[in-house]
């Protein structure tokens, strides 16, 4: 049962082959048994899950069910869950229990899905390896001592390890796609504004986007059906019709125009990785797609611009964690300044502090123009690059990450090397376009992800392209041993 997809489980719940309570119990047992090895969950909500499963079974019995009624899944611990602690991977929020649901959380609740718990992540989503979590690192199910990627490494590992069929995630610079690639699953970062950010703890507001993780493209489509849409509580969410993302999965790919950005097939990519990606592209050609080389000339500036803009926004977003109203507070502050400095010194981890410092610096008087304004100009250039590219092609394809899962501890002392993990994913966030990572092979027994990038609001086309690929390949079905 743990190997089944959301679509399959939905059908079995509908047919009565299994009840949500049975299914939920099985997966909770599996988490108990196996998650010790991965540490993919920060919090498992057994009691709530069983109660929700029971309610879902009753709902099914009335004949008024959604495809998600009774289907188990997990939330990245960045989405606020009413009554269930939401830590964002930080000591700062170790005991924070929100009195409200994120819009994404509320949407899944309304759909009748059963949340089994909250998954591990890099602290405040800052990282590419899920090693900066206050609750310990998550391990990639594909290799002992291998990182699952990050920041959504807990969600990716939980899905790869078959602890849940699907999990929510967020992506600010690659935090869905890179862990999806490293764990051999399918993940989608939607267009900025497609999914509400309300109740999703902010890292960098202009880049953060909630998205989906599951083993199949079809399941990603089912998730997006629940998550996407305008939210009056998020002024940056976009009021635009939400299609049924599962409806177009089966459309043929004949005539699909694929562009390969030459900047993403550079010498930073190992020949072994490149071979896997090119093999995948050849599969698309067999499906009737055409392929041409394109250019994203300013993509090389993406990391530099990102590491100004994201920390700048984060430095302000994280100011609210001051020990005054909620969250961690230092012991016996002697005055206000002591309360602030010790609360934040003790409550935040190193990577978070590093980014707050970088962001504060970039916004400071005398540096603002050279850093923040310049980075915003670069951002516009990068947006233009994508807009130009999508005049020529329908989708762009590239590797998701420069290499497969690296070893735990390998990059933790070298932030810049760690930042380069996102070299192929970051430009997408700066432009705000949607992108997926789809399992596309293995190097040294570790999964490789194919990144598919689309034009604004082309999620249906991306999911269709991924789904068609998954009809002729089985990389996404491979199970870690």
């Amino acid at each position: 049962m743990h190997n089944k997809s959301v679509a399959e489980l939905s059908r079995e719940l509908e047919s009565g082959a299994i009840s949500s309570v049975e299914l939920t119990r099985q997966l909770l047992d599996r988490i108990k048994r196996e998650d010790g090895a991965y540490n993919s969950f920060i919090t498992v909500t057994e009691e709530e899950a069983l109660a929700d499963a029971k309610a879902a079974d009753e709902q099914r019995a009335t004949g008024k069910a959604t495809p998600w009624t009774g289907v188990p899944f997990a939330h990245k611990d960045i989405f606020c869950t009413r009554g269930v602690r939401t830590t964002c991977g930080s000591k700062m929020l170790e005991n924070f229990v929100p009195p409200y649901d994120a819009t994404v959380t509320a949407n899944f609740r309304r759909a009748g899905a059963v949340c089994l718990g909250k998954t591990n992540m890099d602290e405040f989503a800052m990282g590419s390896s899920t090693e900066s979590s206050y609750f310990g690192a998550t391990t990639n199910p594909w290799g002992e001592q291998r990182v699952p990627g990050g920041s959504s490494g807990g969600s990716a590992a939980a899905v790869a390890a078959r602890l849940v069929p699907a999990a929510t995630a967020t992506d600010t610079g690659g935090s869905i796609r890179q862990p999806a690639a490293l764990c051999g699953i399918t993940g989608l970062k939607p267009t900025y504004g497609r999914v509400s950010r309300y109740g999703m703890i902010a890292f960098a507001s202009s880049l953060d986007q909630g998205g989906t993780m599951a083993r199949t493209a079809e399941d990603n489509a089912m998730m997006l059906n629940v998550m996407a849409g305008f939210d009056p509580n998020d002024s940056t969410s976009v009021d635009r019709i939400v299609p049924d993302y599962t409806a177009s999965l089966d459309e043929p790919l004949k005539g699909l125009r694929i562009g390969l950005p030459k900047e993403y097939f550079s010498d930073q990519l190992s020949p072994a990785m490149e071979e896997q990606v090119r093999n995948a592209v050849r599969e698309y050609e067999k499906l009737g797609a055409t392929v041409k080389e394109v250019s994203l000339p300013d993509a090389r500036l993406a990391i530099a611009a990102y590491y100004v803009i994201a920390p700048a926004e984060a430095s302000a977003n994280l100011s609210r964690f001051d020990g005054v109203r909620y969250g961690y507070r230092c012991e016996d502050p002697k005055d206000l300044m002591d309360l602030y400095t010790r609360t934040r010194a003790e409550g935040f981890g190193d990577e978070v502090k590093r980014r707050i410092l970088v962001g504060t610096y970039a916004l400071s008087a005398g540096y603002f123009d050279a850093y923040y304004l310049k980075a915003q100009k670069v951002r516009r250039l990068i947006q233009q690059d994508f807009i130009s590219a999508f005049r020529e092609v329908d989708v762009l394809m590239s590797p998701t990450s420069p290499s497969p899962a690296f070893r735990q501890g390998e990059k933790t002392n070298d932030p810049v090397t760690m930042y380069l993990e996102d070299i192929f994913t970051i430009a997408v966030n700066l432009a705000g376009v949607p992108a997926m990572s789809v399992p596309a092979g293995f190097v040294d027994g570790l999964p490789v992800g194919l990144q598919i990038i689309g034009d604004y609001f082309s999620e249906a086309r991306l999911l269709n392209a991924a789904h068609q690929f998954q009809q002729v390949t089985d990389w996404h079905q491979r199970e870690p041993q």
Binding site: P99, R197, S235, L363
Partner: protein, 482 residues
């Protein structure tokens, strides 16, 4: 040495929206601490701001009322600093792209001229909460009810040259925002707060001196005092050969003292940047035209109308038109009392004095415009004397009785205006005072005669038990005495 005083103002105007600028919490004043603060106001993780359209409408109305450009695209920025009553650790405000661009307001000077005070810009922002230092021993309480209340901050050019001009401008702005209905104008509750920038320069010099900013003045009286105080302070320093430090100062109105809050060197680097949670605000022509169409009568237009319609002089019209509630009270009084000049005198005299004495606003007056109008009618038709009218007003104010005629009846204040009866009383009194009559008739100086005439009034009022019409007594006396 002679000095020129240069004054510019920054005014925070709390907008009278029902809910906050970025959340659905109520903005009502005076609730229990922290009962009007929701997850957004508390800056709980993941919460996001949603702009309140009404705040933009009010800002646009304000802009139109002060002859300003409305910026079609305005941008919210984050002003970063840590303080316990600032939940997000930044204030959402506008800097580079404010919603209201340059404009101006005319103020009436004492010499009868009108002076134009330019407005540099006005921007929308959120108010902070309140830190309560008094009620918690050794600790500070934080009340976030006010956090997120919409404000417009109005910034003037340094166009005012003395305290009277600054106060005139402040009063004018108060009249404008209350007339627009975008602010309740209640300064004691902080609905309008003034920061005053003051500098001095040698008379005639065109080079501005170093300025100080005195913050958070919440009454016109304190503002006037604070300016006088600061001008004197700066003058003393300059005349002793010293230099002014650019700084922010706090003025204590009860003690007429000020102290430095922070100098320029200690000023924060606020690290402003555009707020990524809020899209730029696009204001279209239709929105502006809708706001324009909804503009009520403003003080300048109202003043002109009062002069035209009621025959008031410049001074009375200006005063009564300055405040929309006072103006409405005046018009209600005239509606029932007919005599506009008499109504104006009563409102500016007895009525305003009583309000001030009890610290009440027009809205809190126990006497209605209709009641005062009824009273005016009885004064105008000579039913009561002005002394009697004061007694009626007192009874209305204290709530002893709410009907003017009933009070007049009950208190026996009706004056005798029957000339036959009055003439009889005059004859009797004059007969008892032959010496004074003779003296009067011998006197040639009209001034002295007038004074002597008054000497007969006391006995006459006594004879009439206070009910004789003094005006008629006067006429009869003059006739009889020749």
């Amino acid at each position: 040495m002679q000095w020129d005083i240069v004054i510019g103002l920054e005014i925070h105007v709390q907008l009278a929206t029902r809910t906050k600028i970025f959340s659905g919490s109520s903005t009502a004043y005076g609730a229990e601490p922290n009962t009007q603060a929701n997850a957004v106001d508390l800056a709980m993780p993941g919460t996001l701001p949603v702009p309140n359209e009404q705040a933009f409408r009010y800002a646009v109305m304000f802009g139109l009322a002060v002859n300003a450009e409305i910026e079609r695209r305005s941008v919210f920025e984050r002003k970063n600093y840590f303080y316990p009553d600032l939940p997000k650790g930044y204030q959402t405000t506008q800097l580079e792209r404010p919603i209201v661009g340059p404009g101006y307001v005319g103020i009436d000077l004492e010499n009868g001229e009108t002076k134009r005070v330019r407005i540099h810009h006005a921007h929308l922002e959120e108010d902070a909460g309140k830190s309560l230092h008094e009620d918690f021993h050794g600790m500070t309480g934080v009340d976030l009810n006010r956090a997120g209340t919409p404000l417009i901050e109005v910034v003037t050019e340094p166009d005012m040259n003395n305290a009277a001009e600054a106060v005139a401008f402040a009063r004018k702005l108060h009249g404008i925002v209350t007339s627009l209905g975008i602010c309740d104008g209640d300064m004691s509750q902080g609905s309008m707060r003034f920061d005053v920038n003051i500098s001095l320069k040698p008379k005639g010099s065109d080079k501005l001196g170093t300025r100080t900013e005195t913050k958070n003045l919440n009454s016109f009286r304190f503002m006037e005092q604070a300016i006088a105080h600061e001008v004197e302070r700066q003058m003393d320093i300059l005349e002793d050969g010293g230099t002014i430090t650019q700084e922010t100062r706090l003025y204590n109105g009860d003690r007429d003292e000020s102290r430095s809050m922070r100098t320029k060197e200690e000023a924060n680097d606020y690290r402003y940047f555009p707020c990524p949670d809020l899209l730029p605000v696009e204001i279209d022509e239709a929105f502006i035209e809708e706001a324009r169409a909804s503009l009520p009568e403003l003080p300048d237009a109202r003043k002109a109308r009062f002069m035209e319609q009621y025959g008031l002089n410049d001074y009375d019209a200006s005063l009564l038109a300055s405040d929309s509630r006072l103006a409405a009270f005046f018009e209600e009084t005239v509606k029932h009392g007919k005599d506009a000049k008499l109504a104006a005198n009563w409102i500016q005299g007895e009525f305003s004095a009583r309000l001030n004495a009890e610290g009440k606003s027009v809205a809190q007056s126990p006497v209605s415009g209709k009641q005062l109008g009824d009273l005016v009618v009885r004064i105008a038709d000579n039913t009561i004397s002005s002394a009697g009218a004061k007694k009626v007003f007192e009874a209305l104010w204290t709530g002893e009785n709410d009907d003017v005629d009933a009070i007049i009846e009950a208190k026996g204040l009706k004056q005798v205006s029957d000339t036959g009866e009055l003439e009889k009383m005059v004859d009797e009194v004059l007969a008892e005072m032959p010496d004074q009559v003779a003296q009067y008739q011998q006197e040639e100086d009209p001034k002295k005669r007038k004074k002597m005439l008054g000497g007969f009034m006391g006995p006459l009022m006594k004879a009439s038990k206070g009910q004789g019409n003094p005006k008629l007594f006067n006429e009869i006396l003059q006739k009889k005495l020749g």
